[in-house]
Symmetry: C2
Subunit: 437 residues, 2 copies
């Protein structure tokens, strides 16, 4: 599209979410991918803000919680409504649906899409397309467990069913990611699977890279893994963070003995990745699909989900590879935006994460005593020299906690009224305002 017609071009928003992509994650990835004096594509964005993450207590929504998870914080960005942990675009305590930017855009005649490396029923993609009280209710078979209860959302109780069923019944024009196993379940009050339900309701369903390339129906549902898509990178031989091993004497007194830190290792390609569609390829397909023969504009949400998931399981290389996927995807989005002329590209995170870039060697190595983390450590041999250490020490459970720092937000346009600081509901307001909705 040339400059002459750009002023008449429809307005679009591409919202790219790096799940858990805080400043620690970005710096860790920059150091690995570009070197400590290098620059990410993110670093070239002309607008850089900071976004306060907000969530409240379910029992008393007047009480703030100071660290969020993806469902609650995603709801704030998708709907402008601050809610409690685990909620999918519903209000804390009162359990009312909060309208999402995709629903508002669809009603105004815009096309909409969601692309993710997670299951498309996972919290971050789900908050843009569904409304339910608990994020775990991803398919018809898990509407009630020992831990949560979504039975008021069963169709037989007048609800709209599980997240998968709500996506199948949604008006979204293209949805790409993982989660095949959730759609393979039998839909409630039906003999057919949720996949069949989606087909009945107008989706072309594709399950591999070749089918994705060839898909040309009006509405496309891509399910490229049983659950989340495999990640690009991993630690050598699948190693993740390990506990430092102090010598026998060190158990008696901190000033005695020595410690063996985990051996440095390179990151390597994940052999399980196979022919998984990369995030940038899915995003290119979605942009092409949404922009063709469309004079009303579109809203596309793209998530690089496993920056977060790999931080939970203490896999620094895994997170780095998924920031790289986000970078390549941003390049696709900016290329389209630069040509099209009236597209707002936003990149942000939903919450901060546990990973900390820590000194290697310790700042206190001159004291010649064993100084080491009580948590788990990854040490990476760096392509640009030296060794980078990443600490995971928020708990000793199967998954690390999130953290509460405000998250970065980047934008491609200086005319979108984005201040240097905002709260998460302002992300929703910014998209709505840019689109004139």
């Amino acid at each position: 599209m040339t400059g002459l017609v750009a002023s008449a071009a429809p307005k679009n928003v591409i919202l790219i979410i790096g799940d858990g992509m805080d400043d620690q994650q970005i710096t860790i990835a920059r150091n690995y991918l570009k070197g400590p004096t290098g620059r990410l594509l993110l670093d070239s964005m002309p607008v850089r803000s900071s976004v306060q993450v907000l969530t409240v207590d379910e029992e008393d929504p007047n009480i703030p919680l100071y660290v969020a998870e993806s469902a609650g914080s995603g709801t704030a960005m998708a709907t402008g409504t601050v809610t409690s942990r685990a909620r999918i675009s519903t209000t804390a305590k009162t359990d009312q649906a909060a309208e999402t930017i995709l629903e508002i855009a669809h009603q105004a005649g815009l096309k909409t899409g969601v692309v993710t490396t997670a299951s498309i029923t996972d919290a971050t993609p789900a908050v843009f397309m569904a409304h339910i009280n608990v994020r775990g209710c991803e398919n018809p078979e898990v509407m009630r467990t020992d831990i949560f209860d979504c039975t008021q959302y069963l169709k037989k109780n007048g609800g709209k069913g599980s997240i998968a069923e709500q996506i199948a019944a949604s008006n979204v024009d293209i949805v790409l990611g993982g989660g095949h196993e959730h759609f393979a379940k039998t839909a409630e009050n039906s003999t057919q699977s949720v996949i069949a339900l989606a087909q009945t309701l107008g989706f072309e369903v594709v399950t591999n890279r070749v089918e994705l390339r060839n898909a040309n129906a009006n509405r496309i549902l891509g399910l490229f893994a049983a659950e989340h898509l495999p990640v690009k990178l991993r630690g050598e031989d699948g190693r993740t963070a390990e506990k430092p091993e102090p010598s026998f004497l060190n158990y008696f007194h901190w000033a005695l003995g020595e410690v063996a830190l985990p051996e440095p290792m390179p990151c390597e390609a994940n052999p399980d990745y196979g022919d998984t569609p990369p995030l940038d390829e899915m995003t290119q397909k979605a942009i092409t699909h949404l922009s063709q023969a469309n004079d009303q504009g579109f809203v596309l949400v793209v998530e690089s989900a496993s920056i977060d998931k790999k931080s939970h399981v203490r896999d620094a290389c895994g997170s780095i590879g998924e920031v790289d996927q986000l970078e390549r995807t941003l390049e696709v989005a900016l290329t389209f935006a630069n040509e099209q002329g009236s597209t707002l590209v936003l990149v942000t995170a939903d919450h901060s994460q546990a990973a900390q870039l820590v000194p290697s060697p310790s700042l206190f190595s001159v004291f010649d005593v064993a100084v080491y983390t009580p948590g788990s450590l990854v040490r990476i041999e760096m392509p640009f020299g030296g060794v980078m250490a990443v600490n995971y020490a928020t708990n000793e459970f199967f998954a690390e906690e999130h953290t509460g720092a405000a998250v970065p937000l980047y934008a491609n346009r200086t005319d979108a009224g984005i201040p240097t600081f905002m709260n998460q509901p302002d992300v929703f307001a910014t998209m709505k305002r840019f689109l004139g909705l």
Copy 2:
């Protein structure tokens, strides 16, 4: 000064450094001081950048290290030269002096000043006024220890002496902070103290708040504590982070037993603060001193030092109070800048820190097992409701490590050519360019 003469007004730079003030620290302070939906004065700044912290290996400066300490990272901001850990404005390995922005400004006829809540011989203030190979060489009696050796900087070896002696012999117009004990030492090759040396070389020396108010010599040296100034806030009864205490059963298996987390507490005023000059008051004095009868402009460096120092000792309330001191100081700087019309106010940090805002309760509390940090935890009763938990878990030594995330930079002017991302030497280049030096 009115708008009519503002265009002829001299250009000034006020660089405010929050030592260790990363996005975790800022969010923790925002939540406590203003509430989770509140705004700091920092959040109103029209320019917000992110600064990559850089440091290199002393033996082989081609090898990057990925986490810095204050001397090396301060040197990068003060001189534009990336150096190794612990160096005070000298080059890695080759040990050459790197000219500081204050020295360059003085040579061009500008006035200069340094204000800090640390000892003025501490790393961050020192990098703007001195050149030495190791930050520990703060006074004439510690030029060689078991851990470091600065003997090549002794005057008898042709050097300029310790950091205190170099500050006493410097051309800086006003220096305010702590560090009296370093200046009370006998100067090398002398029978007089470094204080007396400073007086001989033209400084009026003041040691309390009343003397500071009344000081009116051309050059002022303020020493308001033996070492670092006391901080404003502390945990209740001086409590800092504490280890969670698992029950007996939990030692056998993570899924058994319970854990007692540290009891929530309020922050309280530090009873040791007394009549210490607050950072904003020292800064107001310095600005008045540097701006009066000055048609050439000035460079003033202000450090809120103990955001970092209190994070090292796992005192979250302590760090919060020092972000509050920085906020009040920023108000003083912005008030002057708004009236004066050609002053660039920069606020940044020198490196990131260990403190992490973590969930309270855990994200995994639904599993009803004991999930807790392997490190130490503070839980604060919050003025705006709820409980905020801060985790310290980079090591089990007497001081936490720094972390490596890029740090925020804020500015009051959109015309200073500040991009959304820069490396630390660009902070030096930005000041130099704004001043036309």
